[in-house]
Every structure is written in C-alpha cells, then in structure tokens.
Symmetry: C2
Subunit: 310 residues, 2 copies
Amino acid sequence: MGTKPVLVVHGGAWAIPDEFGERSIPGIKNAVKSGFAVLEMGGSSMKAVEIAVRALEDDTMFDAGHGAVLNADGYVELDAIIMNGKTLAAGAVSCIRNISNPVTFACSVLEKTPYVMLTGMGANQFAEKLGIPQVPVEELVTDHAKAEWEQYRKYKQTGAQKKVHDTVGAVAIDCEGNVACATSTGGITNKMVGRVGDTPVIGSGGYADNLVGAVSATGHGESIMKVTLARLILFHMEQGKTPEEAADSALHYMEKRVHGRGGVIVISKTGEWTARFTTKRMAWGAIKEGVLMYGLNPGEIIQEIIKPSK
Amino acid sequence: MGTKPVLVVHGGAWAIPDEFGERSIPGIKNAVKSGFAVLEMGGSSMKAVEIAVRALEDDTMFDAGHGAVLNADGYVELDAIIMNGKTLAAGAVSCIRNISNPVTFACSVLEKTPYVMLTGMGANQFAEKLGIPQVPVEELVTDHAKAEWEQYRKYKQTGAQKKVHDTVGAVAIDCEGNVACATSTGGITNKMVGRVGDTPVIGSGGYADNLVGAVSATGHGESIMKVTLARLILFHMEQGKTPEEAADSALHYMEKRVHGRGGVIVISKTGEWTARFTTKRMAWGAIKEGVLMYGLNPGEIIQEIIKPSK
C-alpha cells in the first residue's frame, strides 16, 4: 500500500530512421498516458500494462497488432505475453493470426485456461470460442508493412534490407506494489512462417516478480532468448544491482556472448526504473510522480510536467 | 580437453505407477547407453543428447515422439528443444505433428535456420521442405495413450484422472568440456489444442551454458515456466551451489511459490551431476567413468559396472 505508481513503455529497439523515430513519439506518449491513467485511478499494474500495450498495438507506427510486419508468406503472425509479478501467473500467445490485440488475448489465456502458452491454430480456435473478434487478414496489414516486405523480397539477395525489430512493451508498478510486464510483436519482416521470437517466451521477452521487479525486452529475438534476457536482468537485481546496472550488464553480456543487440525497460519492486539499449535507438516513455519522460537516442531524456488527474 | 564424459537422462517426473515404473527402466538404460556411446567415441555432447532423447522418443513407454499422449482433439502435438552450451545456440519446436523425432527436427532448426523456435503448421511445412519424414497421424499413437485419453474424457468431470507428465530429456558433457541439453514431450493428456508447455521454452524446459552447466526439466510445465526452472538452477550454481543444492533449492522454491512439482537432471561444467525431483518418482539414468546408475524412487541409486568400450 502507498507505493507510488510508475509505468514505462517501449516501442522497439533498432536502427530507427529519423523520420520514423519522430513519428513514433506521439504514440509512445499516448500509450504511457493511457496506461498510467489506470494506475492513477487505483487500477492494477496488470491492467495498466495491458492498456498501454493495446494502445501501441492499435497504433500502426509499431510492429505489433495493427501495423505488424509480414512473414515470408505475406501475412502477419503475432506473439505476445503478459505476466503478473504477484503470482508469477503468465499468459502468452505465439503465431496467432487475425487478432487485433494479442496482449488482451494473452490475458485471456492467463485468466481462462490452466496454461501459460497457446500457439497457432489451436490458439486461434480458442480465441473464436471466447468470442474474441477475428479481423480480416488484410486489416492488420499497413501499406508500410507491405512496402517493406516487397522491398525486402526484392533486395534480399543483396543484403541491403534492414532488420526491423520494433516490438512494443510495458512494465508497471501499482499503488499496492504489484509489478507486471507485457510485450507484443509482429516479429521480423519476411520471417519464416511459424517463427517464434523472444516476445512470448517467459523469461526472455518479459518477466515480472514482485520480489524483484519487471522487465520487457526488445531487439534481436534469438539473442534475447539465448541469454533469457528479462530473467537475467532480474537475477542481477537480486544480486544487488540497480535496474540500470543490471540492464547494462545483461545487454553487454548479450552483445559479447551471442553478438546480439537490444533494449529493455525495467522497473524494480520499489519503483526505480530505467530504459536502456545497445541498438542505435529505442523509443520509450515513462510516467512517475507527475512527470512524463521520453526519449529515442542514447542518453536522451525529455521531461514534461503533466498534471495529476486528481 | 581431457574432461571425463558424462551423460544423464530422465523419462519424466510424476506419480509413476509401480508397473509403469519398472517397465520404463530398460528404456532408460538403453537411452543412456546409446547417448554415452557417442561420448565414448569422442562425439559431441550435442550429438549424445540428441541420440539419447531419440531413443526415448522411439520407446512407446515414454510421452514423447512415439507414445506421446493425446490432446483434446485426440491427436499428438509435440514439443522439443536442444541447446549447445558452447555457443548458447538452441533449436526448439512446438506443437508439431506427425514427426517421430522432434529432437532431431529441433537440431535442424538450430543448424538450418537463423531462428531458435518454430511452431505449428509453419514448423511442419519447414520439416517437409527438409525432407523430414512425416508419419501418418496414427503411427505415433499407442493403444495406451488412446486408452488413457478415453478414460480421461470419461472421468474428467469426477476429478479422478491422473495428470501424466513423462517428458524425456538428457544432459551431457563431452571430452572437450562442452555441455548440452535436450528435452522432448507430448505434453499432458487431453491438453487444449495449441497448448505449449515448458519443454521447448529456453530457460524453462532446458538450458545449457559451458560457463555453468546444463539442465533438462520435467514436471508441471506451467509451474516450470513461471520460475524458468532450468535457468534458475544454473543461476544458483553460478552463486556457488552444487548441482544437487541448486536443484533442490529451485524445486522447493517452485513448490512453495507456485505450488508445482517436478524433476530435473543437472550437469556442471566440471562433470558433477544430479537427478532430483519433488514428485513421487522420476525415472533417470546416468553413466560416468564406467558406471551406469539409475533410479526411480526418492534416494534410490542402483549401480551397474559397465565395461568401457575401449
């Protein structure tokens, strides 16, 4: 009781082009405000991270939900996870199709099944049973995603394509001191059908534990999995490192050991938070004690005072 | 160089009935001998764990490959992982159908794609492309699995059904000091179509790291995922615990925190090993320095001197 609520979001860590980066900031601000509004009203960190990630999934600027990148067959396959730090309960979905808000579906897996992870057709069948609307295949596909996919396929022999990893995620602590994380993604452009990245993999794309804190990760999925990045950061924090030290230590280890880069948002059980990355850029935003902070470039923290709603 | 090779296998941790337990021992011995033969000839720990797990997948006594339990729709969906402790490279498959040796397919994911995990239909399409034989649906289904499924569906309202978790796995260290792990399963009887357990989830069903050791886990999949059991054990070992202390500590934490039971086989980077469980029984076997050891009940270690092949 009495913990000051904090919410942090990210919109993916990669070599974000200038124009793309600037255009993602309004979406980041909107998502962090939406999620924080839940916490301010006394809502749970679980609901807050779900709402924040939904906002990012609905925003076509990000590779999750609406706006997700296309796989080798030219359609979207989506992954998501949500985890409750109080109980360690988690819900995850991988390789699902035609669902606008994978994070909300992941919540349903947590709440309505004895399972942690559902995949593919079976997951989609369960969504149908729950009455979760399945949108037409084309609805989640943006012109940008289609253009990127076509360009990738045209130039893939030349090595000129860019690897895009703009997974979205959120971590939060609520006024009862409960932490949570959520992560959602469309994966990587032209990925093999059936490829699952780190996002829905517990301990890799996200982990939350009230005894330590919560993490949402983004970046090169296979590298993140090889080092179980989210869990690794929390182990460092258990050993006494601050969120920033733990994040930097784990991200540098990932780069050294498996040559992969990425970014993370981290929150501790006492509400300390950080957003760190080894990629060129990561779009992130946070709200704590009436201040909205956000950034895109290394070391950048832009502050805006926002009025508390009460 | 010069490390004494060790191989450990398990055939699942659960309330194994007497008759079932006795009948699983020959399969355990066969698997551990098959895998150890690879190490004795100077082969890699990766090849050794693959061969050992293949032997268990081919044995209808175990819930993996041939003999896997049936899902809610009455067919098998298989999960597997293999991980190389030298490079942290891993290959995993989830929810695949009609493939006799998921562990070997997981090897192909590691060797022939830039990915760690493939799932469902996309994974099966890739298997077809590789020429991995897809067996008829019925071929992997045993009379026992069918009878158990029918009994489950008949009595599921009464709570009389037994939960069966006989995942198989192996960990090894080769003469070059490289560790590896592999785990394979059919999951749990009458599981929802699309349910993915801990087995193919890196850090949960298995993890291998030359700097520490390797683990293969079995038991209540959702609990194992919530505590990322394999990685947790290796973190304890990094902090100075022996494999046995680390395994017991993590298994008891899992029981206390999320009320789940299971079993693990663990090997350290110096070839120390253990087989520990909090379930009623776990079938396991190990070979080190010319001695075959195996057991089924808590505290039980039966030894047989085997002649080294050279």
